[in-house]
């Protein structure tokens, strides 16, 4: 009996302890997580939580001083570059380790190792894209550049110095909740982190959607509805700028420009479409337009907003540089910033750098494919997936052609969107294995003048960016820059023929012939992801860039600006004026106006009184945004279905649609093809969409009132946690803006860093912030402390120190790092 009692109580105790020490499905190991000695309680930070004043680290060569300011921004003062990058790695790991590693797991298709089955399809997609492989090669090729290799290794060593001393109780809380441990960092992982950025910014394609439209409607319709240059544009390089170079020979347009789609072929990829919200703004005004007589530069890159924040602020000071700005966790150097003499910023270039080729295999083994009149061998690799919660690993075979990887082999393959390309190879600039992007930032961080900027840009590959520049020598410049394929006109607008050598990417636009303008007559430079140039540029870059509204607004305001100050540029960053409403609302209202029953509608009256600003409290903005979305859907979803699984297409641009409304009101596209016996007119669809918008808004938000329908409430900007841990993000942030608005804040995307720098002969004045905080720790007061200010459109003055002796009341502590 005693024995039975003992055994039962022992089993109960051991069983419970064991159960609480291991994760159960999605539930973490509760014992360890709740223990105050090890679990989440240990992640609670108080106040600034600075490292101890003296830190002994194995890896620094000399003494390093890190000054922290009241926003917890580290200002690193090192006696050599190695120590600066080492310290940068150490501090970023301290604040953002989980985030850094998460990006690398995503890019290399290894998320399912830590989160299990639910990330498997995403991982398969990433592996097929081949980013991990490319990252390895980029580092192998890049390390022949000694500086590149040294910077990456110093940074890695710093990250690892932090990881090495970590105990379970100090792990970022996400590791505890999800239940895994950080791995060692390496230069390869930094490149993977950059791959993630290439994927976010360049990883979209419309090729298959366009091919589907082409095979259904023919070339004339496609040319009409999907033109290569919009009717309404304000390109980055001002119209009339001379191209002062002799263009190289552009490959001739082949007789056959697209692959022929067989009728049985399903063309649908899992590749996302271009996302215009993932755009950005930047501009610089020259001295003659500014109050100080020297340039002022502004930049706000728009990305999907997350916590921990995408950016990390830092100042790095060594004998070769003194630079401040926004850095990417996982990468050394400053990506967007300024130093004593210059400032620079970036926005994405929407050029077409991801193309697809139809591949004809010899047989099902996929070992050979038809190319240039002969069978050519594919290469094959087997990807292995270790999935959390699965006893054995999974395998996936990926074939590659000389174009690039076959993203999915057969229609039966499962993939993230059930959009399956059959035998299509992908050519993607992100997989370019040459080049050392980070060196562009290395040299920009040290740039003293325009020539240094010009030289720095030549190192940059992808994702192509509009690099804006200003110096205290009163130079301003902008250049859509990166490695850009030299294409024949419309090359890659549709799926191409993988057997035809004329369809290959044959060469690159010479880097010194990338579009560029210096000190234009109009006195400012700007970009908002619109077309890089007008059609006079001798090379074809792509047919679809971000809609031009933001660019038009920025340029018209800068045009009128005199004696510009930091504040006038800050206010432009927060401009909520709706250019699209100015263009089309009067036209649409006139159509509604024809019917008196509509004009009595309170929604109509609100719109009629609306100031055309997407301010937070405007009801007009809510109705207008919903209405044009509804209208576009009603006009085009019947003919160009975006959501069709078998043969998805894309809608003609909004610009093209407004041209149609104004100039071709009887176009057949206004008819709803699903109603056989009825011919819908423009008037019908305008009215119908207006009513549908009011109905759906009422259904979702209640009856119309300034509270229920306020734009910020309906738009509801959320900044979610990067790992989708609920409760770790911030929801319903009160602000205005929208997709085509300069203040491009949408449901999930928005200005991820806002910066304004006023150049000066002596010392620049700079302002900036991002929607989050320096710490990646959800329990830190510095996790999301900048969000409220960001939502209001305010900026922080950035503390740019001349030396470590610099006195400021904003300094909250100094940490000395010495050799162990």
């Amino acid at each position: 009996m005693k024995f039975v009692k003992f055994i039962i109580s022992l089993l109960a105790a051991a069983g419970l302890t064991y159960a609480l020490n291991r994760p159960l499905g999605a539930i973490p190991a509760l014992g360890r997580l709740f223990s105050p000695f090890e679990g989440f309680w240990q992640n609670g930070e108080s106040k600034l939580n600075l490292p101890p004043t003296d830190l002994q680290l194995d890896g620094v060569q000399d003494e390093v001083n890190v000054v922290f300011d009241d926003n917890r921004v580290p200002h690193v003062f090192a006696k050599n570059d190695h120590d600066a990058y080492f310290t940068q790695g150490y501090l970023m790991a301290r604040d953002r380790l989980w985030q850094m590693e998460f990006y690398t797991l995503a890019a290399s298709g290894r998320l399912s190792e830590v989160v299990g089955e639910r990330a498997l399809e995403l991982d398969r997609y990433s592996r097929r894209m081949g980013m991990a492989d490319a990252a390895k090669q980029v580092y192998e090729n890049g390390k022949t550049n000694k500086i590149f290799d040294e910077v990456l290794n110093a940074y890695s060593a710093g990250v690892n110095a932090y990881i090495k001393q970590l105990k379970y109780k100090n792990l970022p809380v996400e590791y505890k909740i999800i239940g895994y441990q950080p791995e060692e960092w390496s230069p390869y992982k930094t490149i993977l982190m950059m791959m993630n950025m290439r994927n976010v910014l360049n990883g979209g394609s419309d090729d298959f959607r366009m091919s589907n439209a082409l095979s259904k409607y023919g070339m004339d319709v496609v040319k009409d509805l999907f033109p290569n240059y919009p009717s309404n544009e304000s390109p980055i390089i001002p119209i009339g700028t001379k191209w002062n170079f002799t263009p190289v020979q552009v490959p001739a347009v082949p007789a056959q420009t697209t692959a022929t789609l067989s009728t049985s072929e399903t063309v649908a990829f899992s590749v996302p479409q271009h996302s215009p919200e993932i755009g950005s703004n930047n501009w610089a005004v020259g001295g003659e337009k500014s109050a100080t007589g020297l340039p002022i530069l502004a930049n706000d890159p728009h990305l999907q907003l997350t916590l921990p924040s995408i950016w990390y602020q830092m100042q790095l000071c060594t004998p070769t540089m003194n630079v401040y700005g926004a850095c990417l966790p996982g990468a050394p150097g400053v990506v967007i910033g300024f130093n004593k003499d210059v400032a620079w910023g970036v926005t994405n270039v929407g050029s077409d750098v991801m193309d697809f080729y139809q591949i004809k295999f010899k047989d099902n083994t996929k070992k050979e494919y038809w190319y240039n009149g002969a069978w050519k061998a594919t290469s094959m690799r087997v990807e292995e997936f270790v999935v959390k919660g699965r006893p054995e690993s999974l395998k996936d075979t990926v074939f590659s052609t000389h174009h690039g990887p076959i993203v999915y082999n057969s229609a039966s393959d499962k993939n993230i969107n059930q959009n399956v390309p059959v035998g299509h190879a992908m050519r993607w600039v992100a997989l370019e294995k040459e080049g050392t992007d980070l060196m562009a930032f290395y040299y920009l961080n040290r740039a003293k003048n325009y020539d240094d900027y010009h030289k720095a840009l030549t190192y940059y590959v992808a994702p192509a960016q509009n690099f804006v520049f200003a110096s205290n020598q009163n130079d301003i410049s902008i250049s859509p820059n990166g490695k850009l394929p030299l294409k024949w006109k419309e090359q890659g607008k549709f799926i191409m023929d993988g057997s035809n050598p004329a369809h290959d990417w044959q060469s690159w636009i010479p880097v010194d012939q990338n579009p560029k303008v210096k000190n234009p007559a109009r006195g400012f430079v700007s970009s908002a992801n619109q077309f890089s140039t007008d059609p006079t540029y001798p090379y074809y870059l792509g047919w679809r860039f971000a809609p031009s509204e933001r660019a038009i607004r920025i340029n018209e305001r800068l045009e009128k600006m005199h004696k510009a100050t930091v504040d006038s540029l800050r206010m432009l960053q927060n401009d909520n004026f709706n250019v699209e409403a100015r263009r089309i609302l009067p036209v649409l209202m006139k159509i509604l106006n024809a019917d008196s029953t509509e004009t009595n509608n309170p929604a109509y009256q609100t719109l009629a009184k609306w100031n055309m600003k997407n301010d937070a409290n405007e009801v007009g903005a809510t109705i207008f945004e919903r209405w044009i979305k509804e209208l576009r859907y009603i006009v085009f979803e019947d003919e160009f279905p975006m959501k069709d699984l078998k043969s998805p297409m894309t809608y003609p641009s909004r610009n093209r649609m407004w041209d149609m409304v104004v100039k071709e009101p009887t176009a057949k596209w206004f008819d709803d093809v699903s109603t056989k016996d009825k011919q819908e007119t423009l008037q019908d669809v305008v009215k119908h969409s207006f009513k549908a918008s009011i109905d759906s808004l009422t259904l979702k938000h209640g009856s119309m009132s300034p509270e229920n329908w306020a734009w910020n409430k309906v738009k509801s900007t959320d900044i979610n946690h990067l790992g989708r841990l609920s409760g770790f993000g911030r929801q319903d942030i009160p602000n205005g803006g929208g997709a085509g608005i300069v203040n491009a804040t949408t449901e999930l995307n928005g200005p991820s860093w806002r910066m304004v720098v006023q150049l000066d002969k002596d010392w620049p004045k700079a302002y900036g912030l991002y929607p989050g905080g320096q710490s990646g720790n959800p329990a830190s007061p510095f996790y999301d402390n900048m969000i409220d200010k960001w939502a209001k459109g305010e900026l922080n003055e950035l503390l740019f120190m001349k030396s470590k002796e610099y006195k400021s009341s904003r300094i909250s502590g100094t940490v000395k790092i010495i050799k162990k």
Binding site: F6, A13, S35, F37, F728
Partner: protein, 118 residues
């Protein structure tokens, strides 16, 4: 007395060893000291509850409750009924139950172990 010993020994041990060290500690000390099964359970469960709640209370106070609030948000998004309970007490109670049951059951096992060999 058993209560005090468990409290002190496990406080020190948990600084260096994983959280589950409370189980063997409760087992060993109660095998040595306890007179009744219930006494063993009560001493160990009480000691660990006191220790965990006390230490977590201190950490939570220092952090203005931010971490607890986030964790509570995470759990209550997934287990909805938690939303209707008062946040801070609920999570202290969950923690206390976890710690006290592991320690209490181990203590009883320790007591019965002793009885078996007596």
């Amino acid at each position: 007395m058993t209560y005090i010993i468990i409290l002190i020994v496990s406080a020190v041990a948990q600084y260096f060893l994983p959280w589950w060290v409370i189980a063997p500690i409760a087992f060993a000390i109660c095998a040595w000291k306890s007179k009744t099964a219930f006494g063993a359970y009560a001493a160990a469960a009480g000691a660990i509850s006191t220790l965990w709640v006390g230490y977590a209370f201190y950490l939570n106070l220092n952090n203005d409750g931010i971490m607890l609030h986030k964790i509570a948000g995470l759990f209550s998004e997934n287990i909805k009924f938690l939303k209707i309970l008062p946040e801070t007490p609920t999570f202290f109670v969950i923690m206390a139950i976890i710690g006290s049951q592991v320690a209490g059951l181990s203590a009883m096992a320790g007591y019965h172990f002793r009885q078996f060999f007596k």
